[in-house]
């Protein structure tokens, strides 16, 4: 899964300084490497703003993976069959793994796991708004796989070519696993569509509720996305929000047709001249309202996440106490 948040400042969000105090020859070497489409590695010199942008983006991305476990995790105990349950457990475990790859990548930039977790748990850091909507029935789980993970893949594939090496490598791993997420969701929906009228209605209802939220996942329109240009310049971002959104729509319309559902946009139609589908207006006021913390599930998601973390404290303490004891015993035996 992915975050739209590459453009979303955290609450602390200070404006990124355009000028860096670093000596100009280092900066020139950095710029030259970026221009040559080279990669930046953790020990290389980089402008502060590049580092800050990456820390923000990668940590928000990691938080999205971790919070993304919650809406689907709700359905593990209620999956309709053992097969679907095993699939869902594997998917949720993948999301946890993706979060860990990404936290590790962010740590190479000099931030710590504690700092990132504190930022998430205190509500300071953002994560993808899509997870602040409820999963009301089983069809939602399928739609999350098909559309939410589908949108995520659109976003993440270009990130495999990100200029920052550890982030790009983490994304290669993530993308390999993400394809299963989308396909299992789509297939679960296909099965429902072959069922009763009631089941088909559930799928359509879930698509109606999630479609516009998925389009918003790509972030604000390019014109309202001030960080985008700099991100493109630095090779952190490769394709603009609007272009990715268009790609997603063009890819999804035929899939919806095969599935037999209607995408809830009366303005959605093929534009021969553009060679793309035209689409209607996204409700950005609603999007920003959710980003600001007022979505239907913001409070519940964060509370669940904090509770899970706090409930696991004894495990972390025990592991640490055990490691300490083992070390002391080894020292004593050596003495």
């Amino acid at each position: 899964m992915y975050t739209q948040a590459m453009d979303i400042p955290d609450d602390s969000g200070k404006k990124i300084a355009a000028v860096s105090s670093a000596p100009s020859d280092q900066e020139a070497a950095f710029e030259a490497r970026i221009d040559a489409d080279g990669r930046i590695e953790p020990q290389d010199w980089m402008p502060d703003a590049y580092r800050k942008t990456l820390v923000r983006q990668i940590s928000q991305h990691a938080h999205s993976e971790i919070v993304g476990m919650l809406p689907e995790g709700n359905w593990i105990s209620r999956a309709p069959s053992l097969k679907r349950k095993a699939i869902l457990i594997a998917k949720v475990q993948d999301e946890g793994g993706h979060g860990l790859y990404l936290y590790s990548a962010a740590e190479t930039l000099g931030t710590s796991r504690d700092q990132m977790l504190d930022a998430l748990h205190s509500g300071k850091a953002k994560y993808s708004s899509i997870f602040n909507y409820p999963t009301l029935n089983w069809a939602d789980v399928g739609v999350i796989g098909w559309l939410v993970d589908g949108a995520a893949i659109m976003n993440q594939v270009p990130l495999c070519r990100c200029s920052y090496g550890p982030y790009a490598r983490a994304m290669v791993r993530v993308c390999k696993e993400e394809s299963f997420h989308q396909r299992q969701g789509y297939e679960a929906l296909l099965v429902m569509m072959k069922g009763t009228d009631e089941q088909r209605a559930m799928v359509q209802d879930a698509v109606n509720r999630y479609w516009w939220k998925c389009l918003a996942m790509f972030g604000p329109p390019d014109a309202d996305s001030p960080h985008s240009a700099q991100g493109m310049r630095w090779g952190i971002k490769r394709i603009s929000n609007d272009d990715l959104r268009q790609k997603f729509i063009d890819a999804t319309v035929p899939q919806a047709k095969v599935l037999g559902v209607t995408l809830p946009d009366p303005e959605l139609k093929w534009n021969e001249a553009r060679g793309h589908y035209d689409y209607g207006q996204i409700d950005w006021a609603e999007f920003w309202n959710t980003v600001e913390g007022n979505g239907p599930c913001n409070k519940e998601r964060l509370a669940t996440r904090v509770k899970a973390h706090n409930d696991g404290q004894w495990v972390r303490d025990a592991a640490q106490a055990y490691a300490r004891k083992q070390k002391e015993r080894a020292l004593k035996e050596a003495a």
Partner: protein, 98 residues
């Protein structure tokens, strides 16, 4: 509200051998209390799809890395020693593969 998280869980680098006969390759890092836990976590985080048959974990602090600022003096001297490559030498065609 929050309890401290991983303050003392050190960082480990994870190396995975994808199949017998190949080398262990660096694939990422993770936090763990000790080596045994690091191995367990590496299994769950990096080999959920049969990506490996063997795992190494190494404390990140145990790795000594070359300094990127020294890249020039470390690696450039090899650039003008093209006679270290087999293609530097011209061998008559009738000799065949050598």
């Amino acid at each position: 509200m929050n309890t401290p998280a991983l303050k003392d869980w050190p960082l480990w680098e994870v190396f995975v051998r994808s199949k017998q006969g190949l080398e262990h390759k660096h694939c990422g890092s993770l936090h763990a209390a000790d080596a045994a836990q690091a191995l367990h976590m590496a299994r769950d985080v990096y080999t959920r799809r049969q990506e490996g048959v063997s795992i190494w974990v190494v404390p990140s602090v145990a790795i000594t890395a070359s300094n990127p600022d020294d890249k020039g003096e470390l690696f450039d001297p090899a650039a003008d020693k093209i006679y270290r490559h087999p293609t530097f030498y011209e061998i008559p065609e009738e000799v065949g593969h050598m």
